[in-house]
Each structure stands twice: as C-alpha cells, then as structure tokens.
Amino acid sequence: MPSDLTNERKHAKKQIILVSVLFFLLMVLVTGWAVYYATVNKVELFNNDSNARETLLAKRIDRGTIYAADGSVLAENDASGGRVYPYGRVFSHVVGYAVMGGSGIEEYSKYELLHSNIPFQEKVACDEKGVKYPGDNIRTTLDPVLQQAAYDAMGSYEGAILVTEVSTGKILAMVSKPDYDPAAVAQDWDYYLNEDKAGTLVNRVTQGQYPPGSTFKIVDVIELLQEDEDADATYHYSCSGSFSQDGESISCYDHDVHGEEDLTAAFANSCNSAFASIGLSLDKSRYKATLKKLLFNGKLPYDMPYATSKVDLTTDISTREMIQVSIGQGTTQMSPLHLNMITSAVANHGVLMRPYLIDSRYNADGTLLQTWEPREYGELMSGTIAAQLRTYMRAVITDGTATVLRNTDYHAAGKTGSAEFTDDLQSHSWFTGFAPAEDPQICVTVIIEGQGTGSRFAVPAAKVVFDAYFGQ
C-alpha cells in the first residue's frame, strides 16, 4: 500500500539523519583530536630522538646561535658549519652538544635553532647564493659571570652547582663536574663510554641522585610546623650526643653534645638526635602527603631531562628506617635541582617559580619572535612556614654549621648537609641557601662529591657564587 511506503520513508528519514549526525560528530572529534595532538606536542615530537627531521632540517638550516643573558655567545656555527663554544668547558653540561644524539640546550631547543624565520626576500637571497637559511637564535637566562664563578669555585672536585633567581625561576648558572669539551664530544665519544668516565656527560644538577643528608631537615621542619603551629615557641630538646628508641640509635655528627635546644638551635646545629625524635613523632600519612606536595616520588616542573627524587615513607615504617628518612639518609635520593626548588620556594614565600633556561627567541636579523615568561608552579608550603624557615636558615649562618658566610655584607641563609653514601662514612658535602635573607634574590645549591661535611667544602663554594653576584 502506498501509505505504508510513505510511513517507511518517514521512518528512514529520521534514522538516516541520526546516522549522519553520528558520523559527522565522530569525524569532527577525530579531526579535532588530530589537530590538537599535532599542534600541542609539536616541539616535543620534533625533539624526540627517533624523529629524523632534525637531520633533515640541519641540511637546509644553519643551526642558530645560543646567547647568554648578557648577549655573549655560548654556542654558534662558524663559517664552515662547525659548532663553536667560546666558553669551552664552562657551560659544557647546560649548553650541551648537538652531535651524538645531543644534550642540554642544544638538544632541548633544537626546534627553535633549526627553524628559520628570516623574511622571505632573505630566503630568496640565500637560495641565489646557494647557502643554508640561518636558523633562529635563542637567548638563555644564563649569567656568564656567575657561571664562571661557580665553575671556578668547584675547582677540580666532582659535583654540581645550581644558581636560580628566586622571584622568576630563571637559571643563572648550572655547573656539573667533571666537565667535557663540547666541541670534541664526537671524537671523544668512545673515551666517555669507558666505565670510569661514564658519568662525565651526565648533568649532575638535574640527573644526579644523591642522599640529601641534613639538608632534608628543611623538609622535616616544614612537616613539623604544619602539624604543630606552635612548635617554634614550644619545641624543646635536650641533646646528649645520641638518640635511642626501640633499640635503634643515632648519634650527632662527631658525637657533639648540643645540650638544651629550641627548634632554631636544633636546626642550626643540624642536630641528628633532635631530628630523629622529631621524625618519629610526626604523623606518617600526613608526612607522606607533604612529601608529595614537595614533589618527591613524582614529576618536577622542569622541561629538560631530570631524575625523580625518592623517599620511601610508608605508614608502617620501622623506627630504624624513619630515623634514616628524617636525616635524609637510607634510600632517600634527590637531585640538586629538586633541592634548589624547595629552597627557592622557602625564599619566595612558599611559592615555587618553575626553573627555566630559555628566555627568548629571535630570527637571524635579531627580530624578537617569542619570549618565555616566568611561570608560577604553585605553593609548596604556606607563607608563614616559609618565613619561619628563613629565620632558621639564617641561624645556620649566624650560629650554626655555615659560619663561613657570617661576615659578609649580604646576609645569606641556608642549610648544610653531609650525606653518607658508603659504609665507611665517606660523605657528600651539601649546601643550599639564598641571599639576602631579608629579601632573597638568588638561590644557590651546591654539592661536592665525597669530600666530607658541607661546612668545609660546599659553603665556601657557595660563598664564591654569592660574592660574585653581590659584587665582592
């Protein structure tokens, strides 16, 4: 019957519209996804080691120049296309190299360095001359004066120094030793593959993993103040040179007896006994949450490769392990970068600014193309706790373990550490701090490997950097 047919058609019309809309939405969704994925991950995908487009562009683009903040050249191509590093080994790890898979800024910023944004007419001129297009240049946040000072301060020791600007997160200096000659990486490659030289190419600032030792007491204090607001006034401990509980005991450094201490004194003296007792008294699950907030066992807000920090803290942790955790020993590990982040957050009212190295991008003619603004990561601790910690860290300089920094025109604040890493009591020397204590501008983190206490090695190195910054 015709009427049936008409009904059937009306049926189908509704269904066909539904099917059309369904597939239309599906296609819009997948196209949107493709465009989103391709644009958002553009730089990251280009930088991937398995992406051969770097080599492709290197054939057409003359790799751009890397500048320091003051405009001095850190890396550039010479007339023959070879890569030149005017500062030699001074910037070796942070600037990195562009051969053998690449590292440092050379690797991280290769997208910018290998794209050319010169005007069209200049490209035509390049074609006529038969030369490559000049790639874009980048300006870093690095300060050659501070870098040189830090490099010299490290001397022939192995270790790392990181200097950041507190209010912005700009990385001003980043030194890792042993260093290498960035211009000769390709030819020295086999040499660096030797087992005893294997660590040379590793950037110890970001990828070194060290026990934090007594510098971890900063974290203990943050947690203590979070659990007990009045701890500053009420805390009291009587140090007899050692501490025992449940058959586990720990002694203070050199078996010193610190006597009667409030929290300031315990922190300034870096009193192991006091902090062992503090650690054991803390609420484990709350402590765990604090550690997470302080970026342990997780990602750091940093764009280049880094090692994640690790603290093994469980709610049923044994007394022995908890004592180790509270003094930054045992299985606890962190990088100088991470310790610098926590320290600069203390200096910056509890707020962490993301550390960054690249400030701006220019085309070969010097036209500004892009700038990277300071970015706030978020609050690691409350402003009150940060302010209190600053007074404790100042006391470390005035009355504690870092008196080397006492008689300077600027007022530094910080925390030392000596982190044992073998059974025969060899230890790394740590210092992390900032200056001026009343209005922090720069944050310095130093580790010197296998050289004993922080006071004797790391603090003097930090002093050199502070002196250079404050012009002494």
């Binding site: 296609m27 493709a34 995908l45």
Partner: protein, 510 residues
C-alpha cells in the same frame, strides 16, 4: 625560484582546497539533480589551480623530471574529460559527486607521486579503469532492479573469496589479506565490500522479517569472523558497523543499534583475550613510545609527520613521510598532513564528510528500498573506513591499517570504491529519469483532468444557461470563476514523491 616554490606552493594548495571545500558545502543544499553552473565552475577552477601548482612543485623539487609534467597534464585532461563526458552523456547525472571524487583522486595522486612516482602512475591507470566503469555502467541502469534478487549469492561468493584468502593468501604486514593470481596481486576483501553491500541491500529490500534478520546476521558475522582470523581487523570493524547501520535503517528499530554496540564491545574484549595480534595492536596504541623502535615505530613516525607540518605543511618534498612504513597505503593522511599541512588535512576530512552527507541525502530520497539501502550502505562504509584510517593514524584508536578510500595507494581499494560510487551514480541517474517520467505522466494526467473539468464546466454552464433561458431571467446571471485548472491539490497522494503509480508489485517505486 626554489624559495618561491617552497614558500608559496603550499599556501596555494591549502587555499585552493579550502575554497573547493567551501563550494562543496554550498552545493550540498542545492536540489538534487540540479547542477549549479557557477559552483561547478569555481570547483573546477580550484581543482585546476591545485593540479597545476602541485604538478609544477613536484616537477621543480623532484628533480625536474619531465615525466611528472606529462603525467600531471594527462591527469588534468583525463579527469576533465571524464567530468564533462559524464555530464554530457547523462542528463540526470549527479555531477557534483564526481567532481568531489576526482578531487580526492587528485590529492591522492599528488602525494603518491611525491612518495613514489612509479606507484602514482600505476594508481592513475587503475583510477582510469574505475572512471571508465563509472562512465559505462549507467548504460545498464534499467537492469539495476534485478541486482537485488540474488542477494544470498553475493554473501556466499564473498565468504568464499575471503575464506580462500584466509587459507591460502599471502601475508603482508602481519595480515593475511592479499591474493596473487597470475602475477596480479589483489586484495579480495576490497571486492567483497561491494558484494557485502549488494547482499545486505538485496536482503533488506523486500521487507525485513525475523528470518531475514537471522540469515543476514549469520552471514555478516561470518564475514567479520573470517576477517578477524585473517588479521584484517580494520575491514572486520567496517563490515560489522555497516551491517548494524543497515539493519537499523531497514527496520527502523533503534534497539538493533544498541545490540550491535553491546555485542561489538563484548566481542572486542573477547577477541582481545583470544588473539595475540589484537592484544599487540592495543598495546602499541596505549604506549607506542616504549616500543618506539619496533612495534610502535609506525605510529610514532606517523605522529612525528603529522606534527611536523603545522597548519600549512612543510611543503612537498620538505618532509620525510617515507620514514613511515607503508605510508602510501596506510598512512597517506599523515603524509598529507606533513607536507600539505593541517588545513589541507582538515579540508580532506571535510570533503569526505561532504561526500558522505551527499550520499545519505540521496539515499533518503529513494523510496525503492534496494536503491535506498545500497546507497546508504555505500555512504556509511565510505565514511567509517575514513574514520578508521584517520583515527588509527592519529592514535585516536588502535591502528588497523586500512586505506583512505580514493586517496591511498592501492589498486583494489581505489577500484572497488570507484565501482561503488559508479553504482550509486547509476542509481541516481535512474531515479532522476523515473522521477522525470513520473512527473511527465502526472502532467499529462493533470492536463487531461483539466480538459475534462473544463468540458464539464462548460456543459454545466450551458445547462444552466439553458435553464435560465427557460426561466427567462437572463439579465441576473453572475458567472463564477474557477481558481485552478481541474481542481487538483498538492495533497493528492500521487504527487507525494515516492508514491507508486505502477501498483504494489514492489518493482517500480522510485
């Protein structure tokens, strides 16, 4: 010269395609069967600009090989001749649809030429064969009605073909899908797509009973099962979706879609645990980066390619799409995105959608169930295959390695897609002609009826005049005027599109 070509060519490509796509959407609401002169002109101009620009770029950057210029010119001439001939031969032809198809073929030929010129030449020859089919097939259009009667045979033939391949076929890229016969390698699952659509359209054309649902379900699932066993997961997915969509349209019952979805989900999970090759695909989809140098190589290289080009692409010969294994068949979308840019890639998807919507609107017009089902099925199969390949290449769904119809390199794929569109085009011509006949018939009837009515009116008037004369009141006559000829209204069932004028034999409904 180099800089001009590299810098400007990609923008010209993107702009030409964007304008083309825009006109394609402007043309969508145009009444079917009308071919707007101005839009067609703009489209063909855009297409020619695209072809000339792409050919010159390929020639300049591809080593100034004069064969490229020749092939480009040949391509323009042949496609243009095809378009004009089709338009001239069949008055009721759907010219816009075949414009779009030539555009898709052209985009494919350009990017395949860039990757591998020899393969592009092969592709062109096969496309030519397909276009000839499209031109010639409508001659047989009066016989299209008979195609539906042997529907069970299509299913048996299709199952036989993919069954034979499963047992004896040659394996490529981990899937048993190729078959070699006398030196010619072809992919039977592509041919089976046509048989599958004919089978379902035929089965659903004469009313849908529970028995029909049962038979088609068994046959469709047999197809899907064999394809899964052959590791041809993409095609299996396409057959599955097409079956349930057609079942839904044939019955009008939404619950079949729900059932299809639920069973598909359960089936997919079951297959995941049953087949190792499927588990591997899923694993490579979730985290290709861990296996970047083996199982995840293809997809990660595709992602590199897609992200490299940016909005306007790196430009032809400025990327390295060939780093993706099987790029010309399975990753053509990634290659296009890399060298012609995301704008072009988006236009390409929009054109696919345009063709799909166009076809679905056509299918909605047909009251002949066989024509409606076949046209609808072709549209769904086309768009879903596009979805599977684009989504696979962009890590939206696990990779299955199907072609982008009309664009990807692959003789079987191009040919079978062109045959499907050829049949769809013939159906459209036939429908248009029958509608024309119907309209003429209606006009004739209307004219006859009007004449009859006029006669009746005159007769009545005469009678009345006679009566009046008899009564002697001639002076007070007021003649009444009729409003229309014959008193026909548009509510007449015969005016409803699709209504039968030939009776209820199920044969001649438009």
């Amino acid at each position: 010269m180099q800089a001009y070509v590299v810098s400007y060519s990609k923008y010209i490509i993107a702009i030409a395609l964007a304008v083309y796509t825009l006109t394609a959407y402007f043309a969508l609401p145009v009444r079917r069967g009308k071919n707007p002169f101005f839009l067609l002109l703009v489209q063909r101009l855009c297409w020619i600009v695209f072809m000339v620009n792409a050919t010159l770029t390929l020639w300049k950057l591809g080593g100034e090989d004069s064969r490229i210029l020749l092939s480009g010119a040949l391509c323009v001439v042949v496609f243009l001749a095809f378009m004009l001939l089709y338009q001239a031969l069949y008055e009721k032809a759907h010219v816009m649809l075949f414009n779009n198809i030539c555009m898709m073929l052209s985009i494919g030929l350009v990017i395949i030429s860039r990757i591998n010129f020899a393969k592009a030449q092969k592709q062109f020859l096969i496309a030519l064969a397909g276009l000839v089919f499209i031109l010639v097939f409508p001659i047989l259009r009066k016989k299209l009605d008979y195609l539906k009667n042997i529907w069970l045979l299509y299913a048996l033939a299709g199952l036989g073909m993919i069954g034979v391949v499963l047992l004896s076929g040659r394996s490529v890229n981990g899937a048993n899908i190729l078959f070699t016969l006398r030196g010619f390698t072809f992919q039977p699952s592509e041919l089976v797509k046509i048989l599958f659509l004919l089978f379902l359209a035929g089965a659903f054309s004469g009313g849908v009973s529970g028995f029909k649902v049962f038979v088609t379900f068994i046959a469709a699932m047999a197809h899907v099962g064999i394809l899964v066993l052959s590791s041809d997961l993409g095609t299996a997915m396409i057959f599955y979706v097409v079956y349930f969509m057609m079942l839904y349209i044939a019955t009008g019952r939404f619950r079949f879609l729900t059932w299809g979805f639920v069973m598909g989900a359960i089936g997919a999970v079951a297959c995941y645990f049953l087949f190792a090759h499927l588990r591997l695909r899923v694993e490579m989809w979730l985290d290709p980066w861990t296996y970047i140098n083996d199982g995840g190589y293809q997809i990660t290289q595709a992602l590199f390619a897609i992200s490299f080009g940016g909005w306007f692409g790196a430009g032809l010969f400025q990327g390295i799409p060939s780093n993706i294994p099987f790029v010309e068949s399975d990753f053509i979308f990634a290659a296009i995105a890399e060298e012609m840019g995301l704008v072009t890639a988006i236009c390409l998807v929009l054109l696919c959608l345009n063709i799909f919507i166009d076809i679905l609107v056509l299918s909605e017009q047909y009251s002949n169930p066989f024509f409606r089902m076949f046209t609808f099925g072709t549209g769904v199969m086309y768009i879903f295959q596009t979805f599977v390949t684009v989504a696979g290449e962009t890590k939206f769904i696990p990779l299955t390695g199907v072609t982008l119809p009309l664009v990807s390199y692959g003789g079987s794929s191009v040919l079978s897609t062109l045959i499907l569109f050829g049949i769809v085009g013939s159906i459209f011509i036939l429908h248009g002609e029958r509608e024309e006949v119907f309209r003429r018939q209606m006009d004739l009837e209307a004219a006859q009826a009007a004449r009859m009515e006029e006669l009746r009116r005159r007769e009545a008037l005469q009678k009345k005049q006679e009566k009046d004369r008899e009564r002697g009141i001639l002076g007070r006559r007021k003649p009444r005027q009729k409003t229309g000829p014959g008193g026909f209204t548009m509510d007449d069932p015969r005016f409803q599109p699709g209504a039968s004028i030939f009776g209820d034999d199920g044969q001649n409904h438009f």
